[in-house]
Structures are given as structure tokens and as C-alpha cells.
Symmetry: C2
Subunit: 379 residues, 2 copies
């Protein structure tokens, strides 16, 4: 192996396909049924949630999303050398969803990768592993595919409104319109029992702990991200144009956006010595729970709101949620995204979280243009 | 990012730590209890199986193995930038075992990676992802750690003898004494219900289907491996010195070794055009189930038997099983392994499988020498 063989450049998302079950429950109807007017639409900020029919599950949604992705992109299964799946709603404790997806691959079975597990973060774990495969020594020139699929179910009536369902399939390769700046990935992992599934498909939830884990992890990841971004991308990043935050329900994303609005300007422009000071200031500020009246700031409206459409209309998709946010941004802006920076925040209870940067660009191959992705996502 | 920045070289296994519960059941005692003399010791080729005490589980074994690895190697947790876990015996349907292992990391929480799922193959999926992280653009110079941990339980009395328990922790980095030839990884993935866990921790098993999936996958992976090895390592590989095969129970490994003994010489030395012919010949040959009398050939005795000690004495460790085989080879040969080639065969029901090559070498840093690994494994 030539040690100086050129690495593939701009490795990231070439194309993206979304599947959401057509069956939906309006949050207004659910409020009326539960006798809690305004709680889900205004309190959670949600408009509807997708529900699987009796003939759908995480595997069937994954099959649909992946089959559509390959067909729409004109990619033959034999051109896929790696398949990673992120999910926490698989039907089996040992057999991978990936093995079930192999029915789409006929005789082309030399396909690396597997299932990733870690609550909602598993989608990002799957994507990063696929990106690393393309960048690494094992890459054989084929595409990687990533499928994130989940059915979000809750036992408690109050939590049921934060359910949802959906799958996202992603094609990964070099010369991508949405490349991951891999060296900016900044993570925070801790041992916390905020949300877990000790018995069957319905989670045990400590709501307050989960919200604080989400917001605290965002702050920690953001600090580390800004430090890495300043070191890795000096001069190349003067602003974040859009931010996609893992979207369990809209009001939590609004709270996260408020943190970002304060943290990012201070951390991205400050010299290294000031970063801790900025973080401390924010930390004191955040000891007071952000008030609803302060949430609707310019940062959320201008840079985050466009990413929340699918999350508000379809509910939580767990591992697929963050990438449904990215799909919403692409659908809203298409080729106008070129040159724009998208900050991604992935969170999974338990907990694991990462911030990283995607900077949209025009690929050499028109097949992967931003407008092509937008057309397919909107179809 | 400089596109020609030199990739780290010889990325692979720097060190390896094994934990097996001290509680064991002798197969001879189990045979006496079940009234089936010789079935487990001679029929399965097993001598004992490890059993978790009431205060142990997959997570506690993982904690022990990882803590011992870091302490014995003198690696501070803050020097670990990625942690991947392979298991199919986690106690939770969403929360990752990795998040529980973070209690060893104190404030050093910027650690990528997560849990991998896919029956016994998840261990190899975890290792390959860690290797790709070190080889990829996201690597920040720190070590990756991989922990494989499983408790193998069966409901049926006849299958109980193929249980076991154990964990392996692996330190991954460049300049490794056991580097993975990443470009030789040859896989075979298919959708098969040979062994799965639809309900709780005890698997549903179709024994005959699982054995044929194991042996058929070995043949397919071996063909693909030899093709890649000839293309990637021309002149560098004229023989396989040792072979480690996923070890559910010893007799299955003996059957696999017999296949390898016939396939490898034909495929490694043949020109490309002859590979299919050789495979066909073997394929016809293998339609007859290998007889026990033919199993004890030179290939198994000389190149495989030394890898089976831990598997025979401790039973199946699912994801950790293959790497317990590698530990057995290291324990048996120590620094004499230098320059030797080890063929690895990983299999997980469902199913996913890979063959790949490890070629042992003397690292520049004595801390990672083969004899150091051997000393630690034997301690």
C-alpha cells in the first residue's frame, strides 16, 4: 500500500432518501382525546406524528428507503461495498437489520458494515463509520450506504405525543455535495440513565434528566467543536449558516438553539483563552431554565427553523431524526446551500453526543448536485 | 487537510486483554448429568464452559477487561479517542454498553464510537470501525479501544453445552505488532434465520442451518479473500501460517479447517482463471458432509489447533470468541509469531462473515512487542 496514495476528497453525503409512514395522527386530535388543549401543539411545538401501519416496522421502512435510494440514484447493489444501519427498534436481539436488507443485493454479498446501537445516536455512529471506511485503507472504490430507521413508541399517554416513525437512507462517497469535516467531530459520552429500554420496546424515561443531558451535552460538544473548528478550519469558518439539532420534539430544539445562539458567536471568534470564559458565562446564564418568551430569537428563526419541518410534521424518528432535519434544510434551500455551513448536533440517551460540520459544495458529478438531492427529497 | 498527509502505517492490534469468569462447568460433568457420555467432550470437542456468577454480566466483564487493558498497558483514559463495543448480551434495548464503560473515563468524555450488533460478527465490525477511525481523516492521534463481551446462554439442554462467557479488550493504533491488512477483508452477508433472538436473551436455533451457513460463508469468504490477497499482496503471501476461526465449539472449527486445508493451497497459488475451478472442485467435494475421520489432518493440527485452547476450555464467547482464538495463538507462540501470517475468519448468524489477514511484525515501540502481549495474555 502506497503510504502517500491520495485520500478520497470531500467524503460525505451524496444522496439522501426519506420514508415516513403515510398514517398520521394530528397533535390537535391527540390533545382533544387526552383533554390537554395546547399541550402538544404549543407545549411541544409538534403538529403531527407518523404511525406505522400493522404491516410496517423498522425493517420494512429500512427496505423501502434503501430500495428507493438505489433506484432513484441509479446505483446497482453491486456498486455498494458497505452497509451500516442505525436503529433502536430492531425486532431481534441478535440478528442485524443489515442482514435483512441483503435481500436487495442478490448475489452481490461482499458488503461490509453492520448494525449500530446507542439510542438515537446510532444513526451518526453508522454514518461516521461509513465515512471512515471510504477514507480508510479498506476502501475499494464502491459506495457506502447508511440506513437509519426507527419506530418511536411510548407507554405513558403524556409521552405518546413525542412518538413518530421514519427511515432515512444515505449514499456515502467522495466528491460529495455534503461532505463531513471529519476532524471537527467533537463528542461527549457519559453514563446516564435518562432514557433506556430494560424490558421490551417501550422505554423507561426520566424526562427532566433527558432534557438536561441533551442540553448539557450540546454545550460540551459545542465548546469542543469550536476549539477543533478554529484549529482545523482557520479562516474557513466565520459563521454557521444553519444548525440541525436532534429533534425529539420541537420545543427542545428551540431550547438548544437558544444555547447555540449565545455560545457560537463567543466561541467561534474568541481566541482560545476566551473560550472557557464564554462557556462559563453561558453556563451561569443557563442555570435559569430558558423561558419560552426568549426562545423565539433570530438564530432559531433564521438558522434552525427550516430544519424542523419534517420533525414537527412526522414526530420523532430516533436515529433518523437528525438526518430528517438535514433533509428539511436541503428541501428548503436546494442549490442555494452551496458554500453554506451546517452544524450538526447528534444526541442519544445513555448518553452519547457529537457536533460536526457539513459545508455544502457543488460536486464535479452533477448526479450528486444539491438540487438533485432537493428534488428527490421533495418527490 | 493535506490530501497527501501520510496515513498511519501498520494499524491494528497493539495489545489484548482477556477476562473469563472463574466459575466453570466441566463438560464431562455435564455429560454425566445429561446422561450423554462423550457427546460434549468428543462430539463437540469441548472440555469446559465458563459461567457468569450472579454478580457478573456482559457489562461487568467489559469493565474488567477494559480496565485491566488500560492499566497493564499504562494507557491513561484521556489517551483513548474512540471506544467500540461488540456484544449481543447487553442488558438494554437502547442504552449502549459503551456508555456504561465511560465510568472509567472520568472527565475525558470526547470519545467516539458505540455499540455494534450482529450476532457474533459484531466483534469484528467493532474492530474494523476502530481501525478505520485510526486510518481515516478523523484520527486525532489517540488510541482506539475495542471491547467484545458476551454471555452465551441456551434454553435447550443439548445446546447448553455450547454456552460460555468472556470478554476481550483490544487496544488499536499504528505501528502494531498485529496489523490488519485492511484491503484483504473479504465478506459475505446474507439474510438467513439460522440463529436469532426474537424474544429475550435465549436464542432460537436451527442447528443444521447454522452449521451450513458457517461453512458456506467460510468457503465464499475464503474465495474472495484469496482473490484480494493475490491482487493486494502479490509475492508477499505464499502461505498462511495460522488460522483463527470463529469458535462456537471445537468440532465446527475442525470442519472449517478441513475446508481451508483444501481451498487455500489451490486458491492462493492458482492464477485467477483457476480459482473458480478450484472452488467448484471443493464445492462438489463438500456436498458430502466432512467425516470425523478426515478431520484430524495436518492443517488443523499444525495451524489451527493452537488457536482453540481458550475456546475449548471456556466455551463460546460469541463476539469475543475469534479474538480469544487470536489470544491463544499469541500465548502459544509469543515473539516467534514475527513474520507469520494469521488468517482470521469471523462469522455471525443472520448472517455476516469476513476473512482477513493479520501479519505479525516487530513494532518500533517495545511496549507493543509480541512477547509483551503474550506475557499479559498469559498473566
Amino acid at each position: 500500500m502506497d503510504p502517500c496514495r491520495q485520500r478520497p476528497q470531500h467524503v460525505g453525503i451524496l444522496a439522501l432518501e426519506l420514508y415516513v409512514p403515510p398514517l398520521k395522527v394530528l397533535q390537535a386530535d391527540l390533545e382533544a382525546h387526552d383533554g390537554v388543549p395546547g399541550k402538544y401543539t404549543i407545549g411541544y411545538g409538534q403538529s403531527a406524528l407518523a404511525v406505522c401501519s400493522a404491516r410496517e416496522d423498522a425493517t420494512s421502512m429500512a427496505l423501502t428507503a434503501l430500495a428507493h435510494l438505489l433506484r432513484k440514484c441509479g446505483v446497482l447493489p453491486e456498486r455498494v461495498g458497505r452497509l451500516d444501519v442505525g436503529s433502536e427498534s430492531g425486532n431481534d436481539g441478535a440478528k442485524s437489520i443489515k442482514s435483512s436488507l441483503m435481500v436487495l443485493f442478490d448475489d452481490s454479498s461482499d458488503v461490509e458494515g453492520g448494525d449500530h446501537k446507542g439510542a438515537c445516536y446510532a444513526g451518526t455512529a453508522a454514518l461516521l463509520s461509513a465515512v471512515d471506511w471510504v477514507s480508510g485503507e479498506g476502501w475499494d472504490g464502491r459506495f457506502a450506504a447508511v440506513v437509519l430507521t426507527d419506530v418511536a413508541l411510548y407507554a405513558e399517554p403524556a409521552a405518546r405525543a413525542t412518538g413518530g416513525a421514519g427511515a432515512v437512507a444515505i449514499l456515502v462517497g467522495p466528491d460529495a455535495p455534503l461532505p463531513l469535516h471529519r476532524a471537527t467531530v467533537a463528542s461527549h459520552c457519559q453514563n446516564v440513565y435518562d432514557w433506556f429500554k430494560p424490558c421490551g420496546p417501550l422505554p423507561q424515561v426520566n424526562g427532566n434528566l433527558s432534557v438536561s443531558a441533551y442540553l448539557d451535552s450540546l454545550r460540551t460538544c459545542c465548546q469542543r467543536f469550536c476549539k477543533k473548528a478554529r484549529a482545523q478550519l482557520s479562516g474557513d469558518i466565520d459563521s454557521i449558516d444553519f444548525a440541525c439539532l436532534h429533534h425529539p420534539y420541537n420545543k427542545l430544539v428551540q431550547k438548544g438553539a437558544e444555547q447555540l445562539a449565545h455560545l457560537l458567536p463567543a466561541l467561534l471568534t474568541a481566541p482560545g483563552a476566551d473560550a472557557d470564559h464564554a462557556a462559563e458565562t453561558i453556563s451561569q446564564f443557563d442555570d435559569v431554565e430558558p423561558k419560552a418568551k426568549r426562545v423565539k430569537g433570530t438564530f432559531y428563526d433564521d438558522r434552525v427553523a427550516c430544519s424542523t419541518r419534517l420533525g414537527r410534521e412526522s414526530g420523532n424518528m430516533f436515529t433518523a431524526s437528525l438526518y430528517a432535519c438535514l433533509a428539511s434544510v436541503i428541501a428548503a434551500h436546494g442549490s442555494e446551500l452551496e458554500g453554506k455551513s451546517v452544524l450538526m448536533y447528534s444526541f442519544g440517551s445513555g448518553s452519547m453526543s457529537s457536533c460536526f460540520l457539513i459545508k455544502a459544495r457543488a460536486p464535479k458529478d452533477d448526479r450528486w448536485s444539491l438540487s438533485s438531492i432537493a428534488t428527490r427529497v421533495c418527490a
